[in-house]
């Protein structure tokens, strides 16, 4: 029987169900989502600023911010009451499955553009929730995971120092000394590069240094390996990074707590943490 004849005999759902299509709800406007309503400010100009971020409109975002600054709205308020609120809503829609990574990236671009404008007026960098150092292990070229981690951290209000990939271990230690981060994220995608993580920890210990936690993640990294040395916590999804950072900053969690409470902290079932 020919390929076409075979194909015509098939009822595809018998073999594979497109659950993504099956469970899709009706389309709604992002600002009408009930949780978003609670996040986006009602007061202008903050509402317009937040909505531009929500709509991933970089140009509108910039224009709104410029107008507000011209009207002497304090740059700190523009950031905290406008731009960040827009980004919070975007993150939330991502978590809920209505928004996608490109939405996050583009909204993030819009937000960053606005923040830069504000900082020009401020004359210095704006306050963040804290500094995080992010790197890809020495000898490892895979960097998308790290890029996502950095993006989520920034969207979550953290200053993320992006050290790039194939980063010499000594440089990581140096950066930690310099920036005194509240959290370090390391990414490795290979069995033979994840071995850098315990080396970083060892180097820190030798110098008597400590960080609240080093999140270690990436394709080939396993939880059992990460938990075989101290100071570390196994990271699963890039969007968990700001949640872990929040737990450190807000709830003073240590790496030991993070290991124990990971699933609760990130607020979902995580297969690797039963």
């Amino acid at each position: 029987m020919s390929y076409e004849e075979l194909e015509n005999k098939m009822d595809q759902t018998f073999i594979a169900v497109r659950y993504n299509v099956e469970i899709e709800g009706a389309a709604i406007k992002p600002e009408e989502d009930l949780d978003v309503v609670n996040i986006i400010p009602t007061e202008e100009p903050f509402r317009a600023i937040a909505l531009a971020v929500l709509y991933e409109d970089r140009d509108a975002s910039l224009a709104n911010v410029e107008k507000a600054l011209a009207n002497d709205i304090p740059p700190i308020d523009i950031i905290n009451k406008g731009l960040m609120k827009g980004m919070d809503a975007v993150s939330l829609l991502y978590t809920k499955g209505f928004y996608f990574l490109p939405d996050l990236m583009l909204a993030g671009d819009g937000m960053m553009e606005g923040i830069k404008e504000c900082e020009k007026v401020l004359g210095h960098k704006s306050e963040t929730k804290g500094t995080v150092v992010s790197f890809v292990a020495e000898g490892d070229p895979h960097d998308i995971g790290k890029n996502l981690v950095v993006m989520f951290l920034r969207a979550g209000g953290y200053e993320a120092i992006d050290m790039g990939r194939d980063v010499p271990t000594v440089d990581v230690v140096k950066a930690i000394k310099e920036h005194k981060p509240i959290f370090v994220t390391g990414t490795a995608l290979m069995t033979t590069t994840m071995t850098v993580f315990p080396k970083v920890v060892e180097a820190l210990q030798k110098e008597g240094l400590e960080v609240p936690a080093i999140g270690c993640g990436g394709g080939a990294v396993r939880k059992d390996f990460v938990e075989s040395f101290p100071m570390s916590v196994y990271g699963v999804e890039a969007y968990h990074a700001p949640k872990l950072a929040d737990a450190i900053v807000k709830d003073k969690k240590t790496w030991k707590d993070l290991r124990k409470e990971y699933a609760d902290i990130v607020g979902e079932f995580v297969s690797e943490y039963s």
Partner: protein, 461 residues
């Protein structure tokens, strides 16, 4: 108890994966053997999870949730989750109850949200020890097994299965020494006697609940032989003798069905195709997607007439591709999908034949399980259907004939070890008494003395 004395399938060509003469329906909208093949996933609890009930419950939940996650991520329409109990679960029936419950709950949530079809199989462990008085019957362990079966049935298992170990003491002795008579006695007689004892009770328990009595495998005997036989170059057990043991195992495992088990028969029963041919019940099998658990010499052939396709069992841990419940459900899920495509397009018999021919002459063990030969062994069994001893012997003799015919046709080549052990076994079997009682008498005299663990009382002999 009604013994099978006729074949339910009229000819081997009627048999194919995904279809059984007597399909089984279960909760959560599942039909088995009703036109599609179900993938199965099974994961061994991680070390340490045995330390407390809480840990085991959480482990069971975790395995379940991971499997469900992957199932919807890749679009599987249906799957089966099996949990093989460890000692502590069966020995503490309240562990069984809670573990089963959390798994049933988790599965039901996914069924509700995604409309995915799911089956939950509980396999309590047969923890009875023949050598510890009072042995297999009415010991404390024996009671725990039954309580655990009831706890599974009462707490949401779609079906229960088990691997009972009756006759193991004698068959172990026979396998290690290449003693065909001990193997026949251990599997064909003692195994069958113990099956009846266990399965009458299991079926009665299941009747009280929305839970099906599924089946039993001769893991303790025929799989031990297969394991010892190992790869082509291993030298612990003759592969021809292992093939005969497998044929006998069919006569033994059939007893569960005769007592009321309705399938799908449990995955590690490589003898299942023979039982399907005889009885028409759906079966689970394992092969090329069970390489995580062990190596067999018939990875494709075992798929030919399967209804549930299993990975056997794997460590619970992370792979680069996800956790093992995810990864191995994907493996069996994709193979089942291929079979379902064949069913949909009417090409199932071609695929069945390809599966079979891939391994038919790889090893004598595969040869006797090729569906045409499995059918022949089935016929030999039902011919003597009323006598467990005679029917196992007939199965072994038929398996021997099948191998010899293939050798004569220059399709199967044997090593000297395989050749010699086959010849000697067949000679012994041919010379055995025609009466069960006489055979049992002889064996009791010989093996009670030689095998310390063997206790005739455990079989009411």
């Amino acid at each position: 108890m009604k013994r099978f004395t006729r074949m339910i399938y009229k000819n081997p060509d009627e048999m194919v994966f995904g279809k059984a003469k007597f399909p089984v329906s279960q909760r959560w909208n599942i039909q088995i053997g009703a036109g599609y093949v179900l993938p199965e996933i099974k994961v061994a609890p991680v070390e340490g999870s045995e330390e407390s009930k809480e840990k085991m419950v959480s482990e069971c939940r975790n395995i379940t949730q991971s499997a469900c996650d992957r199932a919807v991520a890749i679009g599987l329409p249906a799957f089966m989750l099996e949990q093989e109990h460890i000692f502590q679960q069966t020995n503490n029936p309240e562990w069984t109850a809670e573990c089963t419950q959390i798994q049933a709950e988790t599965l039901e949530n996914y069924h509700d949200e995604y409309d995915i079809k799911i089956s939950l199989r509980a396999t309590p462990a047969d923890i009875r020890l023949e050598e510890r008085s009072p042995g297999l019957r009415e010991s404390d362990y024996d009671n725990k097994v039954m309580e655990s079966i009831e706890a599974s049935a009462a707490n949401g298992a779609s079906d229960v299965a088990i691997e009972t170990i009756g006759g193991k003491s004698v068959s172990d002795y026979g396998i290690a020494r290449g003693d065909p008579k001990a193997i026949l006695f251990g599997i064909g007689v003692l195994g069958s006697i113990d099956m009846e004892y266990m399965w009458k009770r299991i079926v009665n328990v299941c009747k009280k609940y929305d839970c099906r009595p599924a089946g039993d495998t001769d893991c303790a005997q025929a799989n031990t032989a297969m394991f010892m036989a190992g790869g082509l170059l291993d030298k612990d057990c003759s592969h021809t003798l292992a093939a005969l043991a497998r044929a006998m195992a069919a006569a033994r495992s059939l007893v569960a069905v005769e007592c009321g088990a309705i399938g799908p028969l449990k995955d590690c029963g490589y003898e299942n195709p023979i039982i399907k041919a005889i009885s028409g019940v759906p079966i689970a099998t394992e092969g090329k997607n069970a390489v995580c658990a062990h190596s067999d010499l018939m990875g494709n052939l075992t798929a030919a007439v399967t209804d549930v396709w299993s990975n056997e069992s794997v460590y619970h841990r992370q792979e680069m591709g996800g956790t093992t419940p995810e990864v191995w459900l994907q493996a069996t899920g994709y193979e089942a999908a291929l079979m379902n495509t064949a069913l949909q397009t009417g090409q199932e018999k071609v695929l069945r034949d390809l599966y079979t021919l891939t391994d038919k002459y790889r090893d004598p063990q595969g040869l006797v399980l090729a569906y045409d030969n499995a059918y022949r062994i089935g016929e030999a069994i039902v011919k003597y259907g009323n006598d467990p001893y005679l029917r196992s012997r007939a199965a072994a003799l038929e398996a021997g004939a099948i191998i010899n015919e293939a050798v004569d046709a220059k399709k199967m080549y044997l090593t000297r070890f395989e050749r010699d052990s086959l010849d000697s076994a067949l000679k012994i079997f041919e010379g055995l008494p025609a009466e069960s009682d006489q055979f049992i008498d002889e064996c009791l005299r010989k093996y009670s003395r030689k095998i310390a663990e063997f206790d005739p009382k455990s079989y009411e002999l």
